[in-house]
Symmetry: C2
Subunit: 138 residues, 2 copies
Amino acid sequence: MAELAAQLRPSLLRLTRIVRNQRVDLSVTLTQISAMGTLKKHGPMSAGELATCERVQPPSMTKVLASLEERGLVRRETHPTDRRQVIVAITDEGLALLDSERRSRDAWLSQRLTGLTADERALIRKVIPVLDKLADQK
Amino acid sequence: MAELAAQLRPSLLRLTRIVRNQRVDLSVTLTQISAMGTLKKHGPMSAGELATCERVQPPSMTKVLASLEERGLVRRETHPTDRRQVIVAITDEGLALLDSERRSRDAWLSQRLTGLTADERALIRKVIPVLDKLADQK
DNA sequence: TCGTTTCGTTAGGTAGACTAACTATCGTGA
DNA sequence: TCACGATAGTTAGTCTACCTAACGAAACGA
């Protein structure tokens, strides 16, 4: 079990290193893309909820939201009844950028994926929910 | 295919975020551990080779090696015939630290892994070489 | 209504990567 | 043989992306 952990860790590390640096439009970072993707997928939510989804601490999300809002990619509104909360929603500009960014970013990973066999791709498809389960625990 | 890429990316990102921050001994970082692990696995090699193995640029490796050497965890020697090259080897102290660090670091991931079913663990075991293949291409 | 909790932000720090530019060394072709 | 391009590594500087600690404002509960 510990051996499996020891093998998985560096593999994750290296692949993420490569994926993160594969930046097409330098104006938006992978972290920002990921946050917008969550907003697109799950709809508007509070800053804290978004931080939890993204597995970062609230201050990190504050910074991400600040740059995204500055560029009009998300909207921050105060919660209708609880004025401590900030509700974040993705804008149309955000959606548009997300789409174009996703396409170009994914091109690279897609191309790598074509280098795999169909069986290997099927394996990856099946392991994604397991990785998410791993990240979600506790 | 692009869809698979889009799903894999944020999952990798989040899991790595968690794994990286799961630091037991704050004196050694995951990046340093990974470099030492490669040295342990493949034996002494040049700084450039190590950078290639770890998928980082040479200057990044220089920094990693500088802190590791300062703490006596690796040894830097000049190549016997080519004095441009620097051959890096892990020291006994490095091996010892690697062992203890690996144990405590892996404890966390291992515990997460116990939350999975045997099938899910088998899936992860099988996907590791595929992830490495993905990182190694080109 | 006053203390406690919660939510988000500010401030400051560190890790970890990059590029550009430099030094030292090597190898080669005129 | 020696001058010049290529290669290996380092230095310098920058940037992203996290973190923790501390803070202010709002909400809540006794």
